[in-house]
């Protein structure tokens, strides 16, 4: 298949728009259908994303990275023992395994203000890529606030709600969980953050949480995500709640004039 011989293809004369987005725009068409190359590009991306779901996270490596930065860690496991069970049993992914509960109980009880939980979720790539740089920004800020923080909990096969039990164990007011989001075709390494004020296991629902999603190279930057998270933390400390009634009201000062520009309207 040669591009030169694709005489049937109508190209879209608005390629230049691709500078603004990684979306699959201006793909062209043959008749009204996708040209062969665009069709196969899609299949390739789907194959990569499908496989990304099943790549296990290297917890030991992540632990070493965080230890090198001077942060203590502990590895915990949910009740979903394998990735296959994790995919089919969200209920088990929300619960700590018996050994994880034992592990927590065997550590010296610490009164904490905030727990930081990391879960592999649906994208180990996201966690492997973004957790270390993001925590190296976040943890100093939390320490500067005077917050007491127990070791960072790294959870195998964890869902968002598993943070609630960990926060309760440490009687922590604030629960921050970083999790690998479902891999997209164009961003198999997207990380999300869920924030819950006074998380209660089995009681807190999605309405009690705030979500900051799409943290990856073509999405939200670490700095933007951090700014949003710190805003939510500070505001929730005043309001004494998080969730749908706690609104992210950060202003995007990073968006300079060029980024604000819109060729359709200017």
């Amino acid at each position: 298949m040669s591009n030169n011989n694709e005489t049937e293809i109508s190209l879209d004369p608005w390629h230049s728009l691709s500078q603004f987005t990684s979306a699959r725009i201006a793909l062209g068409r043959t008749g009204i259908s996708l040209p062969t190359r665009a069709c196969l590009d899609f299949q390739l991306a789907h194959a990569l994303a499908r496989d990304a779901v099943h790549i296990p996270l290297d917890f030991t490596r992540l632990e070493q990275q965080l230890n090198l930065l001077g942060y203590q860690t502990q590895i915990l496991q949910s009740q979903a023992e394998t990735q296959s069970i994790y995919l089919q049993r969200p209920d088990l992914g929300r619960l700590l395994s018996a050994s994880a509960v034992d592990g927590l109980q065997n550590t010296a009880p610490i009164q904490a203000d905030v727990v930081v939980v990391v879960a592999d979720g649906l994208s180990s790539k996201a966690i492997a890529r973004h957790v270390e740089p993001f925590l190296s920004l976040l943890l100093p800020q939390l320490q500067a606030n005077g917050y007491r923080i127990p070791p960072v909990c790294l959870v195998k096969h964890g869902r968002v709600a598993i943070g609630d039990a960990i926060a309760e164990y440490y009687t922590a007011r604030l629960c921050i969980i970083l999790i690998g989001e479902r891999p997209g075709l164009s961003s198999p390494d997207s990380m999300g953050i869920y924030y819950t004020y006074q998380a209660k296991s089995g009681i807190s629902t999605d309405a009690d949480r705030n979500c900051i999603s799409n943290i990856h190279n073509n999405g939200l930057s670490y700095e933007q995500a951090l700014k949003k998270l710190l805003f939510l933390i500070n505001k929730s400390e005043k309001l004494k709640f998080s969730g749908v009634n706690l609104k992210d009201e950060t202003t995007d000062t990073e968006l300079d004039n060029q980024q604000q520009a819109n060729f359709l309207l200017d």
Partner: protein
């Protein structure tokens, strides 16, 4: 009451709620909830028993208690017994026969819709094959209006979904223009904001409004933020066309979404007061999907399909412009593979249409589900054959913000071409006026950008 004896086995399903769950076609969410039939025989036994249940029984036996659930109260309190009268003597099995018969014409189906409860509709769908779901849905006609007319015969509308992972205005505009130039966007131009942020929502609302005004596009906009965020935006004077909200079929599930009927009523009134529709005042956009209640651990022992249809009772109360079942978004825990997603999408469309709703379908899947583009082509084609109201239009089918695959602008053109379907008439006229579509309703073959958008593109070079 719900007993049968079959193949030397006795089945006693005890309650209508249990009977409904056991009669449901197989899907992973019902196994996860522990409510599914244990085997094929039990499922068919339940279907045989369900076929003998009088429709009236659904008015006597609430599947979620009236006292504890405002969705049940809505269903019972607003039931239209006069509209119901025509079919009130039927059992569920006879109701299926009647729906498929020549007696059930478009006009009669429209007339009985307010008399049907979600549970009656869900029950009959459980006895239907895919061709039944398609045949009856195609007879239903639901027309809604804001700045265009949605749902006319032989029309298929599209929601243009130009999402961007950082809500970047130029990034959104690039996908938006790509979609318009492929003839998409007559149902709504609807953006999922990356974060539920008041400022970002305001910015996107103003931008969409400015684009629609500048280019005189006969469509409506929506930023799919939480209803409370949209209410704040309205307080700030934002140009809100459609109010969006995800809804579910139990009060407890809606609690977990941070909503209730009173809040939706407030939002509906606020949007009506803005009065921004030119052809009509259908100003709500709801999204639903099987499994959402179970995902919030709020399914109240119901199977996920019955739960889903109960959400349509909420939608119906607010006369929406659009209702969208986001069928494959939730993941394999609830709909495991292409087969389950396809059936669920067609069930949702049938049930919504029978209840009088303008049903669209986000023909979609995630990368952790056992599904692929072939499955989506099957659902897309069947959905359009069934007379589906609208589908999504996303560049190359790849949503770079929500990280899932839906239908592309090309997909919409495909299904319109093979089935002879056209966009909403007002939008179609705009496409022809600006030489995006030709007189035969096909994309123009031209080497250049249509004149309307030429200045915008030329600036970039």
């Amino acid at each position: 009451m719900y007993k049968t004896h079959i193949a030397n086995l006795t089945y006693d399903f005890k309650t209508l709620r249990n009977l409904m769950a056991k009669a449901s076609p197989s899907r992973s969410g019902d196994y996860l909830a522990g409510v599914a039939a244990d085997n094929n025989l039990e499922r068919v036994a339940a279907q045989l028993v369900l076929a003998e249940v009088p429709l009236k029984q659904f008015l006597n036996e609430a599947l979620v208690p009236y006292e504890q659930d405002e969705v049940t109260r809505l269903i019972i309190d607003e039931h239209d017994s006069i509209a119901f009268a025509l079919v009130s003597h039927l059992t569920v099995g006879d109701f299926r026969n009647w729906l498929l018969s020549e007696h059930a014409t478009t006009n009669i189906l429209t007339a009985i819709a307010p008399g049907l409860t979600p549970e009656m509709v869900a029950a009959v769908s459980k006895l239907m094959r895919i061709q039944d779901l398609i045949l009856v849905a195609k007879k239903c006609r639901v027309i809604t209006r804001f700045r265009g007319t949605i749902g006319l015969e032989n029309r298929l509308s599209t929601r243009l979904q130009p999402n961007h992972p950082a809500d970047n205005p130029a990034g959104v505009a690039a996908s938006l223009l790509d979609g318009l130039l492929y003839g998409c966007g007559d149902a709504v131009i609807g953006i999922n904001p990356a974060s539920d942020n008041v400022e970002a929502t305001l910015r996107l609302l103003h931008m969409l409004n400015d684009v629609i005004e500048r280019y005189q596009i006969p469509t409506q906009s929506c930023v799919l933020a939480h209803v409370t965020t949209t209410l704040k935006a309205i307080e700030h004077g934002a140009p809100v066309d459609l109010v969006f909200q995800s809804i579910a079929g139990t009060q407890k599930a809606n609690d977990s979404f941070g909503i209730n009927l009173k809040l939706l009523q407030e939002a509906h009134s606020a949007a009506l007061e803005l009065g921004r529709g030119t052809l009509g005042d259908n100003c709500m956009y709801f999204e639903t999907g099987q499994g959402s209640a179970l995902s919030a651990n709020a399914h109240e022992g119901l199977d996920q399909q019955t739960c889903e249809v109960r959400a349509y009772a909420i939608a119906r109360k607010f006369k929406p412009l659009l209702v969208n079942t986001v069928v494959g978004f939730i993941g394999p825990e609830y709909l495991y593979n292409g087969k389950q997603i396809i059936r669920a999408g067609l069930e949702d469309h049938f049930c919504g249409k029978l209840m009088g709703l303008p049903m669209g379908c986000d023909v979609c899947y995630t990368n952790h589900a056992e599904a692929d583009q072939d499955d989506m082509d099957m659902l897309l084609t069947s959905f359009a054959v069934a007379g589906g109201t609208f589908i999504m239009g996303i560049p190359g089918a790849d949503d770079i913000m929500l990280n899932y695959q839906s239908t592309s602008f090309h997909d919409a053109l495909y299904v319109r071409q093979v089935l002879g379907l056209r966009p909403a008439p007002e939008f179609e006229q705009w496409l022809q006026q600006h030489q995006i579509f030709n007189a035969d309703h096909q994309l123009f073959q031209q080497p250049d950008v249509p004149a309307l958008f030429k200045p915008a593109i030329q600036k970039l070079k």
